[in-house]
Symmetry: C2
Subunit: 363 residues, 2 copies
């Protein structure tokens, strides 16, 4: 039917056409293609051979229209697409694959983060469940809470991964995350135990956008100082300089470089806590450019435990996220919810591991 002068591709074969070719009913083709037991093996093999020969693939849209069960999970990532989320994604894919599910990733821009977007994605793909990888929401607290409530109305199992649910007092969604606060608390204590008192924090976000990992990490930092009898100096929370990329090398660098430029004589800290390993690398470069040696003149810690922390010179002391465990728990919670949609909301906080590097020195 294809007109050679036109640009259109040949039409795809339908079950009906294949049935005609094989001289059987469409129902028989359907059974053969789905490997059902109620079809003669010889018939099945003949049909499948013809299908392969003609490149017939069942139309999934038509199939989905009939079938209620689905074996697809949608992973939605909003905004920053860093190495950490990518690694979590890889583990998630493996876990879901083990359970017989396929995984599809949709990356959406910040401004598209709405309940409608999710609803469209979910119904478009007939997904069995949704994982929000990284946060999902806007910088505005009230808008985020409302979004969370709207999401709860969508009748599909969902779980937040690497971020808690920020719905407010009553959590509306399950979540699995590293224990950000405790992790940074431990890191700060690690520094304090080595004599540091003037510790700066690199990578604090916008005041209005407190619903993100950085805020929990900052809270852990403050708590550790306070518990150690050190009065947190608000000036040592270095403001972010690359707002859209809080956890990036660029932000770590700009933030510290800016501070050092404004305080040429006395930088005012003996140790730096970066909100992420990437930010730590940027901070290290800024220190180096100012002639400050790590760790001899300034200690440095990161967060995440990515390859870069391990291979950087000096190796960066960091809080290693338990990526495999996070992915495993996320998959478990989601698949449990798929099986029992009314099961209770579950908040899972997984303790990270302090990975000692070569970037901290006693003072």
């Amino acid at each position: 039917m294809a007109d050679p002068t036109s640009g259109s591709a040949p039409a795809e074969m339908s079950i009906r056409e294949l049935a005609r070719i094989c001289g059987v009913a469409v129902s028989t083709v359907s059974r053969a293609m789905n490997d059902r037991s109620d079809v003669n093996p010889a018939t099945r093999d003949r049909i499948r051979a013809e299908a392969a020969k003609h490149g017939y693939v069942p139309n999934a849209s038509a199939r989905r229209l009939k079938i209620s069960t689905t074996t697809s999970i949608s992973v939605i990532i909003q905004g920053e697409l860093g190495q950490l989320l990518i690694e979590v994604l890889e583990h998630l894919e493996r876990r879901f694959a083990d359970a017989g599910y396929e995984t599809t990733l949709t990356h959406i821009a910040d401004r598209q983060a709405s309940a409608e977007t999710v609803q469209r994605i979910v119904r478009a793909g007939k997904f069995g469940g949704v994982v929000f990888l990284g946060r999902y929401g806007s910088a505005d607290r009230e808008a985020s809470a409302q979004l969370s409530r709207r999401l709860a109305e969508i009748q599909v199992p969902m779980v937040f991964c690497t971020t808690p649910d920020y719905s407010g007092a009553d959590a509306l969604h399950s979540s699995v995350s590293v224990d950000d606060r405790t992790g940074v608390y431990e890191l700060a204590n690690h520094l304090i135990a080595r004599g540091h008192r003037r510790i700066a924090f690199v990578g604090a976000g916008d005041q209005h956008d407190r619903e993100h990992a950085w805020a929990l990490r900052l809270a852990g930092y403050r708590a550790a100082l306070t518990d150690a009898g050190i009065d947190p100096d608000p000036r040592l929370v270095l403001p972010s300089r690359v707002p859209g990329q809080l956890y990036s090398m660029a932000n770590g660098h700009a933030s510290v470089a800016n501070w050092l430029g404004e305080h040429p004589d006395d930088r005012g800290f003996t140790a730096l806590m970066a909100v992420s390993d990437a930010a730590a690398v940027g901070a290290a470069r800024a220190l180096n450019e100012a002639g400050v040696r790590v760790p001899d003149e300034c200690s440095l810690v990161g967060f995440d435990g990515l390859d870069i922390a391990n291979y950087y010179v000096p190796r960066i002391t960091t809080l290693a996220q338990p990526i495999a465990e996070i992915a495993e728990s996320t998959a478990r919670v989601l698949l449990d919810t798929v099986k029992s949609p009314r099961r209770a909301i579950e908040q899972v906080w997984i303790r990270g591991r302090l990975a000692e590097g070569e970037s901290v020195r006693e003072v």
Copy 2:
């Protein structure tokens, strides 16, 4: 209809039900939801309000079954999921969004790289086109060529991004890629111009798997040496030690550490070319662990031009991939092919830019 004692979620609303609620025909609801002009604005608004109120979202499977046109592009990534591909992906998404297309990413394991997988993905999602990001195929040359032919039979526009088509003499697919060979050729000349003669290459893959960027980069390295009158020493092509992650820090590190361990007295090179920036970082650590300073005692260059090259200390001289241009060309070629499926195959090679860092010293 939902049984409160069962775990099933309430059924989703259909167009029929909404039509009944609004007291109109389903066709009118359809027109309202699709913003068609042939519906009374007042009727449309009333219907849309009811839809929003009841959380009605059209079933996309049913819609796709009727509609032939699609506005979705599938991006397929096989195997390694590094920072470079992620950044290309982000640019691709933006380009496609500008053209009115949504992008969906599917990440598949090496062993699943078959024509059937692609066919299933394509028909499942009714995608308008497919981008293969990174290579797609197996390590076996003959199997790859056959796969390429099978892919060509799938009647959907496709383009390879960041990798050429390895079908053999006659390319069967369009591709957009940095000019790997010329890029490394330039980097090698950069080193040669600074007096280096003993240059090692880090990150060569398996002999049987020559269909990958590393092989083109290795070829550029060899050509530059030969053209400069230097006989390439095959021993200076350091074998890979982490096969599945050729471009990783782990591989760069293991490869160089292993070599230095076996040649404690004379390492045999004055400069190192790494297959990627990440491998360069790993190599730098291995050098450091052996007490070899970069660049004073050994020069180092990478490939890709990622953040890490720019923020590492010392800043790594590298070949910056023109990521935006690669994404732009990929989107252009694919969308052109969507419009005119019979258009000619196109191989696009984009020249990278040598970004000079602080990791090369004259000898």
